[in-house]
């Protein structure tokens, strides 16, 4: 549960004491890859990143949780199927479903874990073209009323990296219709559908709006020069959104 970066010296964003008081947990499973990136995204936004270990049995007083991308347990079984049973996941599931409505964001493998944990409906299968695909992807923010999207305008287009092998979102028609009807489609792919996802769905939320999952990677678009060309920082809005939620600004 250290709070020092694993590469480079400690970076300090301009400190707003209210922001620094927000503790955002980032979960590491064996095989998680994008945990450092998620920690950096939190740090750059001025909040405090708390590294959480899958085997922990308590949530360490965090105010929100990010389950980052990677290949937890190698994804040799269905992606996320083993991680869903980690001790910490039981805590996260309880807290997300409790009255406190812990904000939870699942990115890529994190999204897959959230569907396996039944916090979000549907599932991901192999991309329709059967290859890993890494590219800059335009997404449309369909619902800006969730804990993780309120800093965006409804209908706004953002560019963040997409990179996955099993990114094709599927659910039965009834579930898809319900997601649409309840406004729970949080993001849709703009332009060519990169993986065959049903109804171009890139991300969804739960009914309460505190749990959001998406396949693309906002944590890779938080710093000028290290994300998609030219734009680069569209992903920071996810953290800004949850800070708005935590600080009661929205």
């Amino acid at each position: 549960m250290t709070e020092t970066p694993l590469i480079g010296g400690a970076f300090q964003a301009p400190v707003d004491s209210r922001l620094a008081g927000a503790r955002i947990g980032v979960v590491t499973f064996p095989g998680t890859l994008d945990d450092r990136d998620a920690v950096r995204a939190v740090r750059l936004s001025g909040a405090t990143a708390v590294e959480l270990w899958h085997a922990d049995t308590a949530l360490a007083d965090v105010d929100a949780v990010i389950i980052p991308g990677g290949f937890s347990y190698g994804d040799y079984l269905r992606a996320g199927a083993i991680s869903r049973f980690a001790p910490l996941m039981a805590q996260i599931i309880d807290a997300a479903n409790s009255d406190a409505k812990l904000p939870v964001l699942g990115i890529c493998n994190g999204f897959q874990i959230l569907t396996e944990a039944h916090l979000l409906p549907g599932s991901m299968i192999k991309n329709d073209h059967l290859k890993f695909l890494c590219r800059d992807q335009v997404l449309r923010v369909e619902n800006n009323a969730t804990a993780w999207t309120n800093a965006y305008a409804a209908g706004q287009d953002i560019t963040v990296p997409l990179k996955n092998q099993d990114g094709q979102y599927i659910a039965d028609e009834k579930t898809l219709d319900a997601l649409e009807a309840e406004g729970r489609v949080a993001f849709r792919y703009v332009g060519r559908n990169p993986n065959g996802s049903r109804r171009n769905i890139a991300g969804i939320s739960n009914a309460a709006g505190n749990v959001v999952g998406l396949m693309p990677h906002p944590e890779h678009a938080v710093e000028t020069g290290y994300g998609p060309a030219h734009t680069g920082t569209d992903g920071l809005g996810f953290i800004t959104s949850v800070l708005n939620t935590l600080l009661g600004d929205k």
């Binding site: 480079g8 064996p30 095989g31 695909l133 890494c134 990179k163």
Partner: protein, 772 residues
């Protein structure tokens, strides 16, 4: 830890040292294991008796070409000899360790290395390429570094040959499947199609890692009583004899299938192993560490022991096995992946075990360091190996293979492209030149490589400042200061075939130029020398010349070779591949924010061409497209490269240029199109003045591959300063155009206008057309 209940002593007829001494007459299968008669005789002489089966297994793998460099060692010495004090200044660890280490300043160090995984990738492309990544990454971890990026130079057969798709799909998916699962961005590489690689594709893998100076670890076993531990994946039957049999002989149809000799990778196990090792380093819990690659436990025990100050004694039945039927010799030779061996002081044993348990990594204590100077390996208490570890690891055979300039070399060099039948109908009209540009950028070697690189994660880690298709991959090392590194790999097999000495220098020139083009200061070199059979005097001459050329050029450019790898026997029957010395150059940025991308972005910036153009069509991509290979490659001018590098580095540091792209394969035509397509920004370009200055026709200006050239985009406000800098250095420079964001086209004035959409379609459709 061992869960194997059977009594190991009963499983096999164990050939102990005692038995061996008493039964000198026993026939051993040394030839099947790849040893030659004189080598086997040497083993007997060293031991003073016949080797045991286990000792024979160890010597056969460690004395193989792959592990011992027996054919190239005498030549490779030049990399260590041709080094000035100035070049040693930043070298913290030189050749000979798992990977060299270079000082980056501010207490940071960087380690990088390139290796081949060619033969396994021919047999089983996915696993061969995947485990190539795995092996090179473990080399980097072994130095105490956190791996931060990988790159892959690839060479496959003809794009339209049916077998190429098998190798291409497998190797690219394997590199992606393994590398992506490790969380290492893939930041560049190369892709060349040529029928000379049909039976011998080249799959090279580079990894780079960073560490603080105090974290540098070396592979040695010191301190009597320290414990020896094997951890990571279990030892299985995969890869047995891979090093000795596979990599050291040519393929032919008369031998049985070698599929079982290819290793199978488990990237998840490797990812966990990386994190686990970094935690061990952080807690200073290991005294020495070594990865298990080629020759497995044979290599790890003999290298750790001989690099240390004493001996080592281990119990082989303590090794955790996937397959309990393995014999001691097989266990010693197994190349199962994702394994490491470490030396741990007794005081740290408990802490070591705690880290293993945290990451759920299996481990077993095999024995301890001794002061006897002997490597003793026991099987259930009986001594099956008793050797001086140096004789296994370092004192293998060294050959002065005969070599001679091939008889056909003169005729080859006399057969120049210009004026040949292949040069008939050379494009000259505007329409012909446009068609030629489109043909070039759609050709297999010059087309967009997005089909490949889109299968690799270039973002993970959040420190990738540039990646393919920019000239170098750039990685930030220190988030606070922006300290970072640039890496480029290059080789041109055709150039090297025409002239091995200069061809190797041209590979270095291009990699050096690519690093400087991105704005980084070149610091160090790693090379992967891919050649045919050293038993062929022609090939041996190519190898000797390439090493001589490369080491001479490193001296001139002042950057040392810190490590690398030699891959021989890359041939099918008696036909070798083109000699392909892949050269990786590492450069340094004080602040990666100053990096220079390869594409135009800002409307109105002036485009300058640095350097002059001569008629260098021999060995060029254009000649290749016309089916011609002969003549002499472009002239090497290292002084010119250094001057160009200084201009590009200074211009980047002082903010004088916003884009830079080097001219290499495909010449100016390829560079202009790539700069335009990078950020979808066109330009108006006029070539008459430069063509007149250099005394070449427009075709030659566009397609010649003269070295020491680059194009840059200069903001209007910086033009005077930029011109002054070039003039002061007497470096030829010419303003050839202006970036035109609104035009949406590459407009070669007086010749033709090509809409970017047309160029993009031609450039990007080739690989999907062949590979789906």
């Amino acid at each position: 830890m061992s869960e194997i209940a059977t009594d190991p002593a009963k499983k096999f007829n164990i050939d102990t040292v005692e038995t061996a001494a008493a039964t000198p007459e026993v026939e051993l299968p040394w030839a099947e294991l790849g040893l030659k008669q004189n080598e086997f005789d040497d083993v007997v002489k060293v031991l003073g008796r016949r080797p045991t089966a286990a000792e024979l297994a160890m010597y056969s793998v460690m004395w193989s070409e792959h592990c011992s460099y027996k054919s190239s060692k005498n030549h490779l010495r030049q990399f260590g000899a041709k080094v000035t004090e100035e070049m040693k200044k930043d070298m913290l660890v030189g050749i000979g360790e798992n990977a060299g280490v270079t000082n980056l300043g501010d207490g940071w160090a960087v380690t990088f290395k390139i290796e081949s995984h060619n033969s396994p990738s021919m047999i089983e492309p996915y696993q061969g390429a995947a485990t190539g990544i795995g092996g090179i990454v473990r080399d980097i971890i072994s130095m105490g570094a956190r791996p931060v990026a990988v790159m892959d130079p690839l060479r496959f057969g003809a794009i339209d040959h049916p077998d190429t798709a098998r190798v291409m799909h497998g190797a690219v998916a394997g590199i992606g499947g393994y590398g992506n699962s490790l969380g290492l961005p893939n930041i560049g590489g190369e892709m060349v199609f040529d029928s000379v690689y049909q039976g011998n594709p080249l799959v090279n893998a580079l990894a780079v890692g960073v560490m603080r100076h105090e974290d540098i670890r070396l592979a040695n076993a010191s301190g009597k009583g320290n414990k020896v531990v094997l951890f990571g994946a279990r030892t299985g039957g995969d890869g047995i004899g891979g090093a000795s049999i596979l990599s050291s002989e040519s393929f032919d149809d008369t031998k049985p299938s070698k599929r079982p000799a290819v290793q199978v990778g488990d990237p998840f196990a490797e990812k966990v192993l990386i994190e686990c090792c970094l935690e061990l380093f952080k807690g200073s819990l290991v005294e020495g560490i070594q990865d298990l690659g080629a020759a497995g436990i044979s290599c790890a025990t003999s290298e750790l022991a001989s690099n240390g100050d004493g001996g080592m004694e281990v119990e082989l039945t303590s090794v955790l096995l996937r397959d309990p039927s393995l014999t001691p010799g097989e266990i010693l030779m197994s190349e199962s992946q994702e394994r490491m061996m470490a030396v741990v002081s007794p005081a740290n044993v408990a802490a070591f075990e705690a880290v293993m348990d945290k990451w759920a990594v299996e481990y077993s204590w095999l024995g301890e360091v001794t002061d006897t100077g002997r490597l003793i390996i026991k099987w259930d208490g009986a001594v099956i190996v008793d050797v001086d570890p140096r004789t296994v690891a370092h004192d293998g055979p060294v050959y002065d293979r005969p070599y001679a300039r091939p008889e056909w070399q003169d005729a080859l060099q006399a057969d120049t492209f210009t004026g040949s039948v292949h040069d008939g109908g050379r494009p000259s009209s505007a329409d012909e030149l446009k068609a030629a540009v489109l043909e070039l950028i759609a050709s297999p070697n010059m087309c967009s490589k997005d089909w490949i690189t889109n299968q690799y994660d270039r973002y993970v880690g959040g420190n990738t400042a540039m990646a393919f298709p920019d000239d170098s991959g750039v990685i930030r090392v220190d988030e606070e200061t922006g300290l970072g590194v640039a890496l480029a790999t290059d080789a041109n097999g055709r150039y090297t075939f025409l002239d091995p000495y200069h061809g190797a220098q041209l590979a270095l020139s291009e990699a050096y130029r690519n690093v400087a083009t991105s704005g980084a200061i070149p610091m160090a070199v790693s090379d992967c020398l891919n050649f045919g059979s050293p038993e062929d005097p022609d090939v041996m001459w190519q190898l000797a010349e390439a090493i001589r050329g490369l080491s001479d050029a490193c001296m001139v450019l002042g950057i040392p070779v810190t490590g690398g790898n030699v891959s021989l026997y890359n041939q099918t029957g008696s036909t070798p591949i083109h000699p392909t010395p892949v050269v990786a150059v590492l450069g340094k940025f004080d602040d990666v924010a100053r990096r220079t991308p390869s594409g135009w972005a800002e409307d109105g910036q002036a485009i300058y061409l640095l350097g002059t153009t001569a008629n260098d069509m021999d060995g060029s991509e254009w000649a290749n497209l016309r089916g011609h290979l002969g003549g002499l490659p472009p002239a090497v001018n290292l002084e010119r490269e250094r001057e160009l590098g200084e201009i590009l580095i200074n211009a980047s540091r002082d903010g004088m240029i916003d884009s830079a792209h080097d001219l290499s394969e495909g010449g100016l035509a390829a560079a202009l199109v790539e700069s335009a397509l990078r950020f979808n920004t066109g330009a108006r370009v006029a070539l008459d003045e430069v063509a007149a200055r250099d005394g070449v026709d427009t075709f030659t200006l566009l397609f010649s591959e003269t070295q020491g050239r680059a194009i840059v985009a200069v903001p209007r406000s910086e033009e005077v300063r930029f011109n002054d800098m070039c003039t002061a250095r007497r470096f030829p420079v010419s303003r050839i155009g202006v970036v035109d964001a609104a035009g949406g086209a590459l407009d070669l004035q007086g010749l033709f206008t090509a809409p970017l959409s047309e160029l993009r379609e031609a450039h990007e459709e080739t690989l999907p057309k062949y590979f789906g």
